[in-house]
Symmetry: C5
Subunit: 259 residues, 5 copies
């Protein structure tokens, strides 16, 4: 028997992120008067545009048209504080557009960088030159820009704690090697698939959220298929539901709702 | 310990596919005025006919009358892009027919061919003569025609990643042998049961979707019962819910809704 | 490693069966006018009587008053084709009675006899004299009469495919012995408990449906408790939800709904 | 391989029991007119009082005010036949009070005594003197009186059938020893916690229901915490949801609904 | 085989606690008249203020604005008896504010201190001087003050009872060592993260509830991430859903609902 605790990696956090997935009540929408719809669209565009046009250091927001029954709209907000997200959530609920939507799912997390590599730890401990390439890269993960890509894929995930596949019982070095090998797959898709990793331990029901951006969804499929054969996934990962959709400009809300 | 990654098979993708399962709000339908119902049927037929009569290289659509409480209608759309599916989904929601329906489930995927066999890999890598039988066969899986069969069965599935039954931890060759043996069962039912395989990794909550067509549903039952004894199923497969129903011509929507 | 496939037993199928479990919207029922209720009862009796009075070789139907929150009514239809069931389902939805009900669950399957025993295989392969006792018994399982017993119990079930308890990985002979031993328990309750076994692989989310009839529900409890200690259940069975209720004559619908 | 069946214990059954958990639609209640509420309370009291004042040998009923979102009211009916329960369920639905409630969960079972001990088997087989202390005790378990205690705790449970923890694969003697040791814990709380055990195999989704009565809920907590360390629980038990609440006199329904 | 029971730790209990998570029906709120909203806010503030301003020895209450779709408001009440909680729950339901909310989840438990350490046992057995530091600390856990921190995190948890990871089958001493090591992690975050532990065995579906308070939510994330590598978590803990939010003063209800 041992009560010895494995070492957690140091982490750095950036913006808090709210993934807010909503279904549209199409029956109500179809039956609403043109005037009511116009007001909903106007208030919707106003809210979405104000959310997406914040200062660079105040976060960012995006709007996604979702595929399938699990959602019609996904609003993603990144902000410096949970209070900001709480405020955005309630402000949206007060718009005439929100009245035609139902919150189906959400995910509350914060952008995260882990110190599994020595260089990562140096950044987290503040030992890296702020202007170094790595420091810039790490900051871009904590305060990410939304890339100009058409599709968005989002899913939450856990690391397993089963007797034979227990991530949290692996020595630090072994986890570091897994993370490194796992990262290699991602790097093969550089330019094609961009990722945002957010941590949710203590904040939501899954441990991490993965948000992927790609112009060609089969690149996402290829990437995740390949990763599934990687031991860090094949043995240690548990995946939640997957949501996919297409980013759209708030100004196009009218066209989206016109069907 | 090993962080070595097993090889993923190469894959080819064709059309994106949306399985859209809907229940009918019969209480609302029964209480609607004849005029409202007429308009719903008219708009429904119009939408469904336009969806099912696209050019051969633009995909296809079908409509299925479902059995049981899990759905009344299943619309299946195959199209070259996700944008096409997104558009179809929203256009349907704007019809008067959709107002009487509720999206109960859906599945977003893309037709897929895997390169577990050498010949499969040759096709995927473009090394096969376009006019060869195999190339034609492979293309028919990526850009499938909907066969003239009465019944449709749809279910999603995963491959297991458990300590003793971990598909993603098997060597490539072993998986290839499993896939070959598994395919043999299917070939015994050629002519009786036609299948469409779609991949959904990164796109939906299950890894694959299986759509089967048969005139006699006991052929589907026999085929799947036999397959369940195959190690690739008995040890490595996890099945989602099953939906079955009967294809119908959009023009018969009136009769279907008349009860 | 082996990709060898275990032998599936041959099977014979008879009538398709729809178990259609519905809850009554009592609030709506209580608030409806007497006239509306009268019409609902009239249309309900008409539908149920027509469903239960088909020719002997055209199947049968029964109506059950369910206990507990999982349902108020269970309609069970047995018919030669899925088209028949599809038609019955939609015809019921169009009655004024259905408007006061919600489909809570359903199960789509087909009566099944398995050829685990040599005599069973002979029947399935058509080698038995049609007038022999066994042939008559097998036909009575495929085209069952509804026995005159007060209570009905229905549950779906699967056989496990776990590493240590994998039914589908057992040799045929071992499964045959299990089935034989399992059947023995059932035979002890002959006369007290009558069963209908339906297969649902490829048709619904569980592999089999079990419908039991008994005048005394403690006989069902005793039978299933005893069976649970049988290795084919204790090691290899996974049970779904259980529904129980009491058969009633469609003509008594009025009394049933009067509370 | 063995197809040998473990011995089931003999059992005796008494009254059928319906646990009927309901939530109150407070929004509708708050908006109802005083007159409507008065009628609902009047009909509610009438029904509940008639249910709770049956002859001693005709069963009993109680009403519980539940804590938390899982229910507001739990009606528990014990009766000699399922037909009695079916009738009570539908009669309640027809009251004006029921219109303000929604059935959230229920449990259908029957009081059960098991013959794991020799003395238990003697009672079940009718070999005990009817006037003996044990016979009286056993009868009090099959035809229980509702004790005058303030709190009620109800939960369903199963015995596990996993490879390493398979209750149904244990020899009879081993199970008997477990049951005896388990009973010892219960006896330590005699006077503080009273229990009613009901069997539900073949009748509901869990195998047993446990209904506990106590004035001090921390006695229930202490008892169940202690039992959880007992191998029959720590290795072989699977617990369903827990419901707790406070018994109240039907005549106090008005005060309860006044908030 | 052994039927030997492991020793449960002695426990002390303090106040009963109700976590009451509610979603706001924003559509109804947006459509309500100003007068109706004013009344809802007035009654809401009145109820919440009266709940939060009880005498020190009568418990306490707090109100939290939740993030994400799992809830908008969480009311937490701590009181000496379950009757108090039952009363608060029903009184809130009768307010005009409650009409705009839906109970989404709740958790019923009681503050708990365990006697895994010798000093803990001394307190529970009453052997500690009431004025000693430890006695004061233990009482502060049983009758906790709500700390002045901005964020609240709540989640329920279980200890596992699996063959390889069975908490309830560990010797007392081993569990005591685990608890001690686990507590060490918590102590590193003293001042940053404050915790309230409540026991729910026999009262709700999970065994314990954990309520954490912090000004900086990344402290909660760091704490729980570190704890997840501790064997008492990595091997023996099962976590339920996580809820997070921000405490607010009842007087600010108006601003909160203004969006």
């Amino acid at each position: 028997m041992t009560t010895e605790r494995r070492d957690a990696p140091p982490t750095a956090e950036g913006w808090y992120v709210l993934h807010d997935v909503r279904t549209i009540d199409w029956a109500a929408w179809n039956e609403a008067s043109q005037r009511t719809r116009d007001r909903a669209i106007e208030e919707g565009i106003e809210f979405l545009q104000s959310a997406t046009t914040v200062e660079d250091d105040e976060g960012d927001s995006m709007v996604v048209s979702m595929l399938g029954h699990k959602g019609d709209l996904m609003l993603v907000h990144m902000r410096p504080t949970l209070a900001d997200l709480d405020d955005l959530e309630r402000r949206f609920e007060r718009t005439a557009l929100a009245t035609f939507t139902k919150r189906d799912r959400s995910f509350v997390s914060v952008t995260e960088a882990s110190g599994y590599s020595e260089r990562g730890r140096e950044f987290i401990e503040g030992d890296l030159d702020d202007d170094s390439g790595l420091a810039r890269y790490m900051r871009s993960r904590l305060y990410p820009e939304i890339p100009e890509k058409e599709h968005v894929c989002f899913y939450p995930m856990d690391k397993r704690r089963d007797p034979e596949y227990n991530w949290y019982d692996l020595p630090f070095e072994e986890r570091a090697e897994h993370m490194d090998a796992h990262g290699e797959v991602g790097r093969e898709y550089a330019g094609k698939v961009t990722q945002m990793i957010t941590g949710a331990i203590g904040m939501d029901d899954w441990e991490w959220g993965v948000t992927l951006y790609a112009d060609d969804m089969t690149d996402v499929k290829d990437l995740l298929y390949e990763m599934r054969f990687d031991p860090s996934s094949s043995k240690f990962a548990e995946f939640g539901p997957f949501w996919i959709g297409r980013r759209f400009d708030p100004a196009d809300l009218d066209a989206l709702l016109a069907g």
